[in-house]
Amino acid sequence: MERVVVPATLVRPPTVAFGLGNGLRVILAPLPESPTASVWVWYRVGSKNERPGLTGASHWVEHMLFEGSPRYPKGAIDRAVAEVGGELNAFTDYDFTAYYTTVPREHLEVPLAFEADRMTRARLDDAEVERERTVIRSEREGNENWPEFRVEEEAMALAFRVHPYRWDALGWRRDIERLSPAELRAYYRQYYGPRNATLVVAGGFDARRVASDVRRRFGSLPETGAAVDVPEVEPPAEGERRAELRGPGTTPYLLVAWRAPALDDPATPATLLVDTILGGGSRLFGPAWGSGSGEHPSARLYRALVDPGLAVRATCEWQPRRYPGLFSVAVQAAEGVGFDRLESEIDRVTERLARTGPTSAEMDDARVRLRRGATLAYEGATRTGFRLGYFSTLRDLALEGDLFRRLQAVRAAEVRARARELFRPSQRVVVRYTPTSEARDG
């Protein structure tokens, strides 16, 4: 019998959580031996808060927060971090916008100072907004060079007609061309501020001293930033929706997707097991090193599509979100294999799981695989800051441990029932991407 090392409980560092009078939520995770400290600010604003005409605004604002605030003119944040040997970046999602800076532990005050400054007072000057327009257009064009981006964007647009998940966080090109600086400033004023943010600090520091520093720097900020829930609820689809795209690429690329539960839905643990049994892993509890596509040779899709030579890659793509999103199966065809064949195999695999459920060995292996992702999930200040911020922003800190516990208790019959509910043909979206490569050498 092979030794099982992965723990049955989630190993997470102790945290200190508190709120400030202006609404800012603060989570401190002291890691006494860490040589670094990582400061994360999570805003509960993302493309879910946008509307047609304003798509891409969250992402654009994210860029602008590096372009000047009262104490940090353009370039000053980058310089301040570089001078102490740190690194920084930011990213925008459907549900949130996150900024992080990791520095040697003795320089923790550097990111705390500029995060407080730009939380409510970023400038968003007209000239800087205009200059950034082409940068953002360029970011979008870079993504468009990949069929995977085009297909996922199309799938979301097909699946959602009411809910703002129907556009990508990069925004529609026509909105990127027309959004005005004044609109961006208004968007920033509406959503940015302590009431809509969580500050996470992880690393080598004394929690009491940092708590006091946080209160001093952030406590006097105005009580701004609206946490706005999305009122739109996507109604069930009245039937399958399909699209066919053509463009540069390698071999046919197929995405089949179904409506999936939100992160805090009671059905999420069973859906994570469906994801793992079919696709090989889960983004929430995936291995931290070389996670790649999440493919696993025991996964049912891999066995049905990659092993017999129908595909070069076959994965499940499910990022549980604040609101119900999409559970996708993505397949890169092997040369000479057509879409119909791939689709019929995907149907066969999903129908079989819905009809007969997983085997007990599959359940055992899937649970171990999901537990494995949590083994070293909290190694390092940066990774710790990410995980704490992610769960607390999408729901609360307790959710991760709760999901982890519930995963262990899910029965095979629940996975079967979940697959039956998930893989309803009427709720399906299919996007086919046919490559049309033709290079002209100059």
Binding site: R3, V5, R440
Partner: protein, 423 residues
């Protein structure tokens, strides 16, 4: 398990069986994992004649089974140990890394030894990785970023040079390579001399020596001779490839550059960081993106390897903007060559790069990359500990001179790939 204290920036070197080089790095404080990499002279420079892609295929097959475990059993065992196995191949070498909890470190090294000495794959596995490489070949032709890299390397390095290709072969070579030739390749290249085992974590050196001695006892004792490396003498030119239907133009400005062992490497590294390195303060980022808004990514990199190297500036920009970008890349690289870097800029970038090493010490995985790099290039055991003083000892003129040797764009090749239209 007794945990040895130690500085992760101080490596310990020792010898294992059949001249295998053992390198031990203490784990960073507060970490509880172990990472181990086996490095072999098995990059695609060693692909046999008419067997282009052999190294890549052998690398991809590294996770297809080992010892008594087939692919699924191996994956299941790794899951149970909470570990991951990642192969990597470049022109010069092949690596397999295992990473997982520290407690079962001997079991993890056992897996690595099986992967190295007792690879196991069947005809189905070979067919599968062939299909994957075929798709990668297509990507090298159709995806603008991949295509630009391929064209750039082919323009810089002459036929027969190990850096000329991306190691994926062509349709015919993929079809020719069989299990027997991969087996021969592995036996010849995964052999003691020239190989190394780098371990990061709470593993005492004497125990590592004993365990490695037992696990790798069967390692053959004769390794491959280094390949011939012709001298590259590229002519400056512009290559333009139109890929209709793509959205963004990928631009490369590139030249042949210095090897890692070159004594001016630290100064050239710093020069490249100032020009287009990872910081948002780099000159290319600040001008192309920050000042003129012409691109989302604008950077440069110095690829210094054992047998030589190359330098490239990389920008992804719109079809209406690339013509403005190309001269900017030349100007900025030229400015670095002709004018000393202002002292404030030099100091900031120096501290930024010194800090990057500190940041790497927050996890076993990142610290391990430093150890593999030092071990592969035969650097001193305290190389990374002394790195700050080396960088702080560089003056502006050192950086300028190094840029002259490593980055000067006078004879550089320009590659433009994407929706550029016909000339």
């Amino acid at each position: 398990m007794g945990e040895p204290a130690g500085d992760p920036l101080e490596l310990e070197y020792a010898h294992g069986p059949s001249d295998l080089r053992l390198v031990r790095q203490p784990g960073p404080p507060g970490t509880h994992s172990v990472a181990a990499t086996f490095v072999a002279p098995a990059g695609w420079a060693y692909d046999p004649p008419r067997g282009e892609a052999t190294a890549r295929l052998a690398g991809l097959l590294a996770t297809s089974g080992a010892g008594g475990r087939d692919r699924r059993a191996l994956a299941r065992y790794l899951d149970r140990l909470g570990a991951s196995l990642s192969p990597r191949v470049d022109p010069e070498s092949a690596e397999v890394t295992i990473w997982g909890p520290a407690a079962p470190w001997e079991a993890l090294l056992g897996i690595l030894a099986d992967v190295v000495l007792r690879p196991r794959f069947g005809p189905d596995d070979l067919a599968r990785v062939r299909r994957q490489l075929l798709e990668r070949q297509l990507q090298d032709g159709a995806q603008p970023g991949h295509r630009a890299e391929r064209e750039m390397l082919a323009a810089l390095f002459p036929s027969g040079h190990p850096y000329r290709s991306t190691g994926v072969g062509d349709r015919a070579s993929l079809a020719r390579i069989g299990a027997a030739s991969i087996g021969r390749f592995r036996r010849a290249h995964f052999a003691g001399p020239g190989c190394m085992l780098v371990v990061t974590g709470p593993v005492p050196l004497d125990r590592l020596r004993r365990v490695a001695g037992r696990l790798f006892a069967e390692l053959p004792s004769t390794g491959p001779a280094p390949p011939a490396v012709p001298t590259p003498r590229p002519a400056p030119r512009e290559i333009r490839i139109d890929l209709p239907g793509t959205a963004q133009v990928e631009v490369r400005l590139a030249r042949v550059s210095i090897a890692r062992a070159d004594p001016t490497y630290p100064a050239a590294y710093l020069a490249n960081e100032i020009l287009g390195g990872s910081s948002m303060l780099s000159r290319l980022y600040a001008r192309v993106r920050g000042r003129d808004g012409l691109a989302y990514h604008a950077s440069s990199q110095l690829e210094s390897m054992r047998w030589g190297g190359y330098w490239e500036a990389r920008v992804g920009t719109g079809p209406d903007r690339w013509r403005r970008v190309v001269p900017m890349l030349r100007e900025e690289a030229g400015r670095l060559v002709h004018r000393p870097v202002p002292s404030a800029e030099l100091a900031t970038m120096r501290e930024s790069r010194i800090g990057a090493v500190r940041l790497a010490l927050e996890s076993t995985a990142e610290a391990h990359e430093l150890a593999v790099d030092a071990a592969y290039h035969g650097l001193a055991p305290d190389y990374w500990r002394r790195w700050p003083e080396v960088l702080r000892g560089l003056a502006a003129e050192d950086v300028r001179r190094a840029a002259e040797a490593a980055i000067d764009p006078t004879d550089a090749v320009t590659v433009v790939v994407g929706p550029v239209g016909r000339r």
